[in-house]
């Protein structure tokens, strides 16, 4: 019995170690390599002890101004998309939670079905339309695209979260003479904050990291950071891995920290999103 317990404990430890290594090693490796002196990046065997240096970050700053413009564009677009998605999802989620009719139920099903359409499908007709409207390569179109691909999930999530707020609270406020918007602002939004944060995690991660839409719809003015990094991978005069690791670390750090701090809401959102539609 004792040996069995010991074996189980060893098995568990190995499994946990493997899980940690699998999840964190690629990330740690990039961050670490971004701080390695030039020749150490390619050392055989890989060096895990070295004198950290910021030389690649300095080169990144000197040679890739476009990357920092990309970061700024990504920040603006992510912020805009998040605001649009949260506002839209909260309004609609509130309506779906507090009202029910055949029409409304059908339109929730419609929201779920919309999520099944692959984003690349709409690039085909949108590309010429966006060009004609002169919205190509603007922050606005990227915000709208990113927000739209999350408002359906966002609405369903918000409905789930608002369903947990007792109706008596809005009714009490309504008796006190509050209108729909006041109820929304004073009762629903504060109490549905976890839902709002869950929606925010989804949209922020998506908008900050997205590649396909950025690749098709932006070229210079609204080019996002992931797109600039993809250009570094494909640059003609060979990949400068040091600069690439530095840029990757800068792009990754904020969103990784965000997910770490918001992990509760991410978990809540993922589970509610998959089981409630």
């Amino acid at each position: 019995m004792r040996t069995r317990n010991l074996l189980a404990a060893i098995g568990k430890t190995v499994a946990v170690a493997a899980m940690l290594f699998w999840s964190l090693f690629p990330i740690a490796f990039i961050v670490m390599s971004s701080l390695k002196p030039g020749q150490d990046i390619f050392a055989v065997p890989p060096r895990y002890v070295f004198e950290p240096t910021f030389e690649h970050y300095v080169s990144l700053w000197q040679q890739w101004g476009a990357f920092f413009d990309g970061l700024l564009n990504s920040t603006i677009i992510t912020a805009g998309a998040t605001v649009i998605a949260i506002a839209g999802s909260t309004f609609a989620g509130y309506v779906y939670s507090r009202n029910s009719s055949r029409m409304l139920d059908a339109s929730v099903l419609f929201l779920i079905v919309v999520r099944l359409i692959p984003p690349i499908v709409v690039t085909l007709p949108l590309f010429p339309i966006v060009n004609v409207l002169g919205l190509n390569d603007t922050h606005a179109i990227m915000m709208v695209l990113y927000a739209t691909f999350f408002v359906s999930l966002g609405t369903v999530l918000m409905r789930t979260f608002i369903d947990q707020i007792p109706r008596e609270l809005d009714e009490a406020a309504e008796i006190d003479g509050a209108g729909r918007l006041t109820v929304l602002r004073r009762v629903i939004v504060p109490l549905a904050a976890p839902g709002i944060l869950a929606v925010a995690v989804f949209v922020v991660v998506f908008a900050w990291n997205e590649y396909l839409f950025a690749f098709i719809f932006t070229s210079t003015r609204a080019k996002t950071a992931p797109l600039v990094i993809s250009e570094m991978i494909g640059s003609i005069d060979g990949v400068d891995w040091g600069i690439l690791f530095a840029a990757s670390t800068v792009q990754l750090a904020p969103v990784l920290l965000f997910v770490v701090f918001m992990n509760r809401y991410l978990v809540a959102g993922l589970t509610a999103g998959a089981t409630k539609g």
Partner: protein, 292 residues
């Protein structure tokens, strides 16, 4: 109350529905029309019926792209499921530093496809990649992914699994936590072994969550684009193309909007088909909950 409500709720519903209609639904319907015509830049479309669909389906490049996609989806998603299930059970069995481990396992969720490609490209770099060097030192074959299509597919599958394992894991872990512990208590009192408890309690009760996780991942893996595009661009010689890359090439490299649109609708139909299964299960669950 009733008459007032329509007017009251319409402005609140409008933003979401206007966005979805104008960005997703109407463009998708326009794609149907495009798929029935032959068109390119600066050329008036001519109606060709289902010819584009026939062209796409009989195109060897499409068939190979479809085959690659199905292979990737089936292999990657099922490995994800097995790993995710194992991790969910490991977590449910009680772990020290559970919160820390949970966050660590979620970390890849934050990583962009572009950064993931940077990571895995370097890890498996045929000359200096740490994983390549490790495989070599153990006398194992390395992944020569820039020349060997099947090796490139393995790397793409690894990358996909790495990026999406957090999702599969969370769905299964949440479902596992929802199983009441007295069921395990009862199984233990009845003398069930750990394996029997897994087979008779865990697996049946996780069933719906497993199906949901699978369908979700099938649908999303079927759209796979960035990983492939950034790693191989579908090459060498279109051998690692997936359906979304095929679509992109038709539309934006060859300006063949008709066949690109037909490909797009084939993708939509495949997703809807998988989605129908999901909605069916969801409905059954909702009615089961209502009856309980």
């Amino acid at each position: 109350m009733r008459s007032r409500s329509i007017i009251g709720i319409a402005p609140l519903l409008a933003p979401v529905h206007v966005l979805i209609l104008s960005v997703i639904v109407l463009p998708s319907l326009y794609v149907v029309w495009l798929s029935l015509n032959e068109s390119s830049f600066g050329q008036a479309p001519t109606f060709v019926g289902l010819q584009n669909y026939i062209d796409v389906i009989t195109d060897p490049a499409f068939r190979s792209a479809l085959w690659n996609t199905v292979l990737l989806v089936v292999v990657a998603v099922h490995i994800e499921l097995a790993l995710g299930l194992g991790m969910a059970l490991l977590f449910a069995g009680g772990l020290p530093f559970r919160r820390f481990l949970l966050v660590a396992v979620l970390a890849p969720y934050a990583v962009s496809e572009v950064i993931a490609v940077v990571m895995w490209r370097f890890l498996f770099d045929p000359d200096v990649g740490p994983v390549t060097l490790m495989l070599q030192s153990m006398g194992l074959p390395i992944l020569d992914w820039s020349f060997e299509p099947s090796h490139a597919m393995i790397l793409i599958a690894l990358l996909t699994i790495w990026l999406h394992l957090p999702f599969t894991f969370i769905i299964l872990y949440a479902a596992r936590l929802a199983i009441p512990s007295d069921l395990y208590e009862a199984a233990r009192i009845d003398g069930a072994t750990a394996w029997q408890a897994f087979k008779r309690v865990t697996l049946p009760l996780l069933g719906p969550a497993i199906v949901v996780a699978l369908l979700f991942r099938y649908i999303f893996a079927f759209r796979l684009f960035s990983e492939v595009w950034l790693l191989t661009q579908g090459g060498p010689a279109r051998s690692t193309e997936v359906v979304a890359v095929y679509l992109y090439q038709e539309a934006f490299s060859y300006n063949a909007f008709g066949t690109a649109a037909a490909t797009a609708w084939i993708m939509v139909l495949a997703s809807l088909l998988l989605g129908a299964g999901y909605v069916f299960i969801l409905r059954r669950q909702v009615s089961a909950n209502a009856n309980a």
